[in-house]
């Protein structure tokens, strides 16, 4: 009889172990990110964060040309983008690169929101700093991309009122999106980058991860587009102190000179590796003949970058190897920034010397004749031309035209397609691209 009552009590006994039973994790691969390592794992997702860079600055720039037939064969949104259309430049529905860029910011914000609360901060202080620095740099460089595409070029006079892009500084997706001013955007970038520079290590374990010299380079770039020469020079030199080695294009480490790629990925010049797949427009495009013509016949870049004068979609000079366009940070850009800043500060000789140090590695051995400049103005022009030749198809031409026009360069971009001429006048409002219409519809934010 007693046994019977025990049996009746059985369900009650079972209840005891209930809580423990339900604490089991439902999916082995699912993790709540609450350790430094789990935060790092989010930032190590190179597929998402390093290899899906924006193609707009290339599609929109004037380093290449399309024939009418090739332009017509493009998707209508790319056709619009390439001709600087004020509407329908982005395919509706999935948000395109707007969504990609803000997705990156979300990823950075998840880390930044949680990094102070992780369980193992004290035990892994160095790693903790590294992760936080990486997240800050990721967020800042993404705002940099956004501002170069959807905001007017930085102008000290109007930046405080010019509309920039929404600044999302936390992962809470219930916060409405409101466009901040251009000034606020740059201010935030500098803040994040300076913090990143403090936190990041001098040498990363791999160039796929950001490092202190990368943060300095981003700071220099940002000051450059803000037309703040002193600061740009300051950070360029800090970066160069940490890494300044150049490849000799005649051969050596990093140079392979294969049919479709002249350099290997992660070559000695690369400080931070990011890339983008070929934009469909560039796949069908030819290099601007005027630009091709200015490469000297002994300049190795002429053949190592461009297979022929009408090199259709076969740019060989990417630092990311075949098939992808490098747009990360490399030491050659630091030399060019330094030279430009020196020239702008009136130091013609310093500028030319810096440039010569770079170019001697770009010419066939023994053929390089060092450049000379009689004045800073001439030095600046030389530096800017070399900058365009060296950094072709890295996505910098668009930003350069924007900032140079602000400084009076008066560059007009033109396209002649299907019997019509498209002109992008200097400092045109079209330099701030239309925000994708579905984003405007959803948020009600003002269009450019």
């Amino acid at each position: 009889m007693k046994l019977k009552y025990c049996l009746i009590l059985l369900p009650a006994i079972m209840c005891m172990g209930c809580k423990k039973f339900l604490d089991e994790k439902p999916n082995g691969k699912l993790v709540v990110p609450n350790t430094v390592a789990s935060m790092q794992s989010l930032l190590d997702n190179h597929n998402l964060l390093n290899q899906k860079e924006v193609n707009v600055p290339i599609t929109n720039c004037d380093d290449f040309q399309l024939s009418t037939a090739n332009w017509l064969s493009l998707n209508q949104y790319v056709r619009n983008l390439h001709t600087w259309s004020r509407e329908n430049a982005f395919e509706p529905g999935n948000g395109g690169i707007w969504a990609t860029l803000y997705g990156r910011i979300y990823q950075a914000n998840v880390v930044l929101d949680g990094i102070d609360e992780v369980n193992d901060r004290a035990q892994n202080l160095q790693e903790w700093q590294n992760v936080k620095g990486q997240a800050l740099l990721l967020r800042a460089r993404t705002y940099f991309d956004l501002l170069q595409i959807w905001a007017k070029p930085y102008d000290t006079q109007t930046a405080a009122t010019d509309l920039g892009v929404p600044l999302r500084l936390g992962a809470n997706f219930n916060t409405p999106s409101v466009r901040a001013t251009v000034a606020k955007g740059y201010e935030r970038m500098l803040l994040d980058l300076r913090a990143a520079a403090r936190l990041l290590p001098n040498h990363p374990i791999h160039a796929i991860r950001p490092s202190k010299p990368a943060a300095y380079a981003f700071l220099a770039r940002t000051h450059l587009v803000m037309q703040q020469v002193d600061s740009a020079l300051y950070y360029t030199e800090l970066a160069l102190q940490l890494k300044s080695n150049l490849m000799d294009y005649n051969g050596g480490e990093g140079v392979v000179n294969a049919v479709n790629n002249a350099f290997v990925r992660f070559n000695p010049e690369v400080i931070f590796d990011t890339y983008l797949p070929y934009p469909s427009a560039l796949q069908k495009g030819d290099i601007d003949p005027a630009l091709y013509a200015v490469y000297h016949k002994n300049d190795l870049r002429k053949t190592m970058y461009h297979r022929t004068a009408t090199a259709v979609g076969v740019f060989r000079g990417s630092y990311s190897g075949y098939g992808f366009l490098f747009n990360g940070v490399a030491t050659d850009e630091l030399y060019l920034m330094k030279a430009e800043c020196l020239a702008r500060k009136g130091d013609a000789q310093g500028a030319i010397n810096t440039l010569n140090a770079l170019l001697v590695k770009r010419f066939k051995t023994g053929t390089y004749v060092p450049l000379v400049a009689t004045n800073a103005q001439e030095a600046l022009a030389t530096v800017l031309l070399e900058r365009r030749k060296e950094m072709v198809f890295r996505g910098w031409r668009w930003m350069d035209v924007r900032r140079l026009n602000k400084m009076g360069a008066n560059i007009t971009m033109r396209r002649n397609l299907d019997g019509r001429e498209y002109i992008l006048a200097p400092n045109s409002s079209a330099y701030a691209l239309p925000i994708p219409e579905d984003i405007i519809n959803m948020t009600g934010m003002p269009q450019n």
Partner: protein, 1065 residues
Amino acid sequence: MKTKLGILLISLWLAMPAMAQQLFLEGKVISATDQQPLAHVNIRITGTDIGTSTDGKGWFNLPIKSKINQLQLSLTGYKTLIVQVNWELNKSPSFSLSPSVETLQEVTVSTGYQTLPKERATGSFVQIDNKTYNQQIGTNVLDRLRTITNGVAPVSDRIGVFGDNAMLIRGMSTLTVAIQKPLVILDNFEYQGDLNNVNPNDIESVNFLKDAAAGSIWGAKAANGVIVITTKKGKYGQAIKVDLVSSITLAAPPNLFYDQAISGADLIEVENLLFSKQYRFTDTARANRPPFSPAYELMFQHKAGRLTGAELDAQLASLAGHDVRNDFNQYFYRQMANQQHALSLSGGSSQMAWSLGLGADRNISNLDARYNRYTIRWANQLKLSEKLHFNLDAAYAYTNSTSGAPGYGNINLGTGMLPIYSSFADVAGKATPLYAYYRQGYIDDIGAGKLLDWRYYPLNDYKESVTRDQTHDLSATLGLDYQLIPQLKLALKYRIQRQSYELNTVHSLQSYTARNLINSFTQVNSGTGVITYPLPKGAILDFSDEDLTAQNLRAQLNFTENWKDHQVNLLVGTEWSEKVANSNTDRRYGYDPDILLFNAVDLVNPYPSYMTGGQLYIPNLANMGSTNNRFVSWFANGAYTYKQRYTLSASARRDASNLFGVATNDRWKPLWSVGVAWNVLKEEWIKSPWLQQLKLRGSYGKQGNIDPRKVAVTTISYQANSNFTRSFYSQIANYPNPDLRWEEVTMLNLGLDFALFNQRLSGSVEYYTKHMDDLYASMPIDLTTGITAGSVLRNVGRAKGRGWDIQLRGYTNFGQLKWSKDLIFNTYTDKVSHLSQEVSLGRQAMASGFNILQGYSPSALFAYRWAGLDGQTGDPIGYFNGQQTKDYNAIVNQTTLQDAVFIGTQMPKYFGSLGTSFAYKDLELALRFTYKFAYFFRRNSIDYNALVTKLQGHADYAQRWQQPGDELHTNVPAMVYPLNSARDDFYRNAEILFEKGDHIRLQYVNLSYSLRPAAYPWLPFRAMKLSFAANQLPIIWRANKAGLDPETATLQRPANFSFVLNINF
């Protein structure tokens, strides 16, 4: 054969105690109405466990101890007869049984927790009788239920979101596809494995639980309805029964020409136009050598001067005359042939009952894929004492399958569709290459003999990349019933199920997959010419396995007490369950299947690609996974019946699960139901000779639905190891949602069951409403938030559904001809009643699948207004802000929901089936028609963007606008180049492309002939039946004029024909 004989012998031995007696009473039972012998009559000596049943000729042989016995003869559908028999006076008595209306109603329904008489049930149960169930033949248990169940609608393939063979019980209960499936209970416990591993011939009965009173005992998983499947069991004191079923099902290949593909000539015309516009010319210079279509290659040859104009025209004309569907038919498709054989044995002594089911299936698909299944199921009940019962069930299934040929639509070019004029073989039948991934000419002579042939030959390639899988599915159930006191029974049940699944694909060295990978990685030293293979030259083995272990433990107390007019049934219990799944995937390179060895490869360092020089990593497919879902539930159910007239029932359940990140106190979810039933006919004041049943019932309650993937906090999921940092990298798996709740469905059900005129007309009428609360839906979200999916899942909505489930059954006899009818008529409408977030854009309402829109059914279809074609250009004209316009970007991006045209719903408002059968003597013909009314679908038409970029064309191309005047007789827009994708988007969703779906289909026909052994005494068995069944028969009426199957967008399933032999020993 030996094993089967052995099993038979063991079974005979087990039944021995029932036979080892001295005296025998031999008798015969016939029907009182037609004097025909009655089989399966249960004969029992009252007050004992001694019994037997009649054979096919009505004979029985009963062992007796004393000479005077009281016998009880019972058979479903007949009045039970109790007679006194004196062996000395009559050694071979004959009895006749008369049909009973009453006994037919003594039907029980099962909820998986208890079996209760249907008479006292307050909930909505649907039982599928064995006869109707067996009118269709199939490998899967559930397939045949889709068209014969009251309240169940088979989901049209066109809706797409629910996948193949989906069924919905009483419409939708959730908008989340992953949790839309009904809960399937197999013998008391949720079935966790693959239901394909269950032999349909092992099934004794199927019950559908449709409302809260029936289903709420299943709590948080019951909102989509519950299907309770019970397998065959032996009965105490039953003589050995042996049933053999053998069937073969044949089907012709599907009609590939149902697909409205563009003609070869039209496609070449399009390609000619593209060539003249230099479309894709720059691809000739790309380093990865993208392929061109055969027609384009000819045009390039002409351009290069290697073909004259006349030669080009002749070759293009020859291409245009070809249709790849003929090649598919000739080389790949064949007749489907499925065999199914099943043997069931059952029997029992006074202390023990057992049953054994054996099954073997051998299927050969239309594409020559093989599938074999062998099942064995053993059920055993033991009476250890009057108070203690014990049962042990065990089942094992083994399946294996082998992949077959690729189907139409499954071979593509790297850049798009297979051009319709392609071919797989030359006139001599020799395989011809298809340049699917790299360009013709370039790979024909690449590598100067140093590489493997880099071409792809679809004719043979599937024979070189063969996928095989196998499943072992083993389950065991232990049950213990102990009668503590006469009113109280303790039941303990435990099930363990283990399913292991292995899949492997061997890509032989001859397969394209292997050759392509090996070639890509081949390294030729430019100095020495030495060739090395970082990816070894050999076969490639892909394999994965998955282990699933599910355990359920249930402890339950049942209390039953009857006194005077009162009857009380209570049950209370708890159930713990766990489902653990582990998976493992990997790949081996340089695999040699003969010696079972493989080569290690360098997965970490990049190698230059042979073709482009780009850096390639050897693909690393290694992956592991593990999931563990746990539930703890408490449940209680009670029913009180007064004077057999009034029943009140109530049920409550709380579930908790190990959902990730949810605080413990939020885990518990209480769900409950109440029900009442009034058995009007038991009232004393009602006396009607023509009324045999009248019952009113009603129920109200809540059921839940849980999505185990959804958790409340941010989670990340690890992806793989980075080649660069050698660390794991991850991505965000779940966006945080602290407000996440389980979905809840509240259902009200009112029902009437009746039977009139001696069962000549019976049926049920039910009306239900359901309120779905806290529905998860993916709501569009501002992409600026960084949620790249563009939507987040939230508990955003409430929806209402309501409908009628009506089933009428009738029997009419015209002399020897018996005619029966079974009409199922269902209505269903639903509407989103509340939405916490507004959807304003027409485009969002036109996304495929279901969309949640305030005031509309989730299956609502919306379209753009259509204003015809422009008479000058053939451009389609739409409306924006009330004005006719050709600004397609404005139409597509800014049309509001208010300005879009509401077409109707994708789910039918009226649906059901009509089954009818005619029996004449030994012949029976059964037919079933299914119908769906008041629903819509969108038909496909030409999409110029897909035509140009993927060479995917539609036959409507031939109907397109070509010159002024055409707009009077066509709605197909003119072809334009350059492409305008917004124009295609507008046309694709224009109102003219929507059709009424209404249709009637002859679902199946079954003709059977039963051999009465009485007429052929020399036959060694009790009964035999031969049947012929035809399934998936054509539509006999449809509303759309285009001749389209409203349920299938791609290929129609071909009709199949089965021949079945049933023998009972």
